[in-house]
Amino acid sequence: MVYFIVMLLGIFFGMILTNGEVTSWFRIQEMFRFDSFHMYGVIGSAIVVGALSMLLIKTIGVRSMQGEPVVIETKKLGKGTAIGGIIFGIGWGLTGACPGPLYALAGCGYPAFLIALLSAVGGTLVYGLVRDKLPR
C-alpha cells in the first residue's frame, strides 16, 4: 500500500518537475543569470509550504502511517557541505539538472540524460570509494 502511494507520488512528482519546467536547461540558465523569478519562485514557495506544513505536523503532533512520531532528520554540517556543495553546483550548472530532473529527463525521452544519470551514479560510486581520503 505504502509502495503504491509512493509510486503515485513519484509519477506526479515527475510531472510537476516537467510541467513546472524545473527540468528545463534554459530555466536553470535563466536562474543563474538572474534573468527571471521563475525558479526562485518555485524553490522559495516550496520551502515556505514545506516549512509551514512541518510546523503544523509538529504542533498537532501528527504521526506517520506507521504510527511513529514524525522525527525530522538532521543534515550534518562539515567541510563536505561546502566542498561537495560547490562540486554539485558546478554539475547542476552544466547539465541544467539536479537529481530529480535527471530522473524525469531520462524518462522524458532525452537519451543524453540517461547517460547523465548513469554518470551521476558513477560519481557517487567514485565518492564512496575515495570518501575516507576526503576532508570532512
Binding site: 509510486m7 507520488l9 524525469a104 529527463l105
Partner: protein, 186 residues
C-alpha cells in the same frame, strides 16, 4: 487532463513540490531527498565492497520506487507537452546563450548540446557525462541536493542546508560564467 499539456507557473509548481516534505514524513517517516538514490543504486546493483555501500538499502526501497516513478512521470508529461507552445524564457538569457553558441531553442533542452550525437564531441561529454558525474559526486559529499538540502533542509531550519544551498549556487555561477563560455566554444 488539459492541465498536463501546458506549462505551470511557479506558484503552482513550488507549493506542490513543498508538499512532498510533509507527505514523505507522513508516509514513510523519512525526509524528502533524491540524491541518496544514487547510493542506493550502487549498493543494490553494483555492490561495491567499499564501506560507504554496506548498509541496509532494502530498508529504503521506497526511494528506488519513488525515483523510477519520477522517470515515468517525466515520460507522461514529456508526451503531453510535446506539442505545447514553448514557455517564455527570458529574452536576455536566450540572447546571451545564442551569442555563446547555443543554436537549438525549440525545446526545454538545447538539442544541439544534449543529444546522442553530442556524446561524440568533447563539448557534449563534458556537459553530459562530466556534469552528471559532478552531480553524483557532489551531492553525496554534501549529503544532499536541491530536494534534501534546499527544500527539506531549509524548510526544517537546518544550518547545514542553508550553507549547502549557498554553495550549490556558487557552483552554478562558476559553471555559468566561467566554464560554459569555454565549453560551448569547444
Amino acid at each position: 487532463m488539459e492541465i498536463f499539456s501546458s506549462f505551470w507557473p511557479w506558484y503552482v509548481t513550488g507549493p506542490l513540490i513543498g508538499l512532498y516534505v510533509p507527505a514523505l514524513y507522513l508516509l514513510v517517516n523519512r525526509h524528502f531527498g533524491i540524491s541518496s538514490t544514487f547510493r542506493d543504486i550502487c549498493a543494490a546493483f553494483i555492490r561495491p565492497s567499499a564501506r560507504y555501500f554496506q548498509y541496509d538499502w532494502k530498508a529504503q526501497r521506497w526511494r528506488l520506487v519513488f525515483v523510477a516513478a519520477i522517470a515515468i512521470g517525466g515520460f507522461l508529461s514529456g508526451g503531453t507537452l510535446a506539442t505545447a507552445p514553448q514557455a517564455q524564457v527570458s529574452a536576455h538569457t536566450l540572447s546571451v546563450l545564442s551569442s555563446l553558441g547555443v543554436k537549438d531553442f525549440s525545446s526545454m533542452i538545447p538539442a544541439d548540446l544534449f543529444s546522442w550525437g553530442s556524446l561524440l564531441t568533447l563539448r557534449g561529454i563534458l556537459l553530459i557525462a562530466g556534469g552528471g558525474f559532478l552531480v553524483g559526486f557532489g551531492t553525496r559529499y554534501a549529503d544532499g541536493c536541491t530536494s534534501g538540502h534546499s527544500i527539506h533542509g531549509i524548510a526544517t531550519f537546518q544550518r547545514a542546508s542553508v550553507i549547502a544551498t549557498i554553495c550549490f549556487f556558487l557552483g552554478g555561477l562558476i559553471s555559468t560564467y566561467l566554464l560554459l563560455p569555454f565549453i560551448l566554444k569547444l
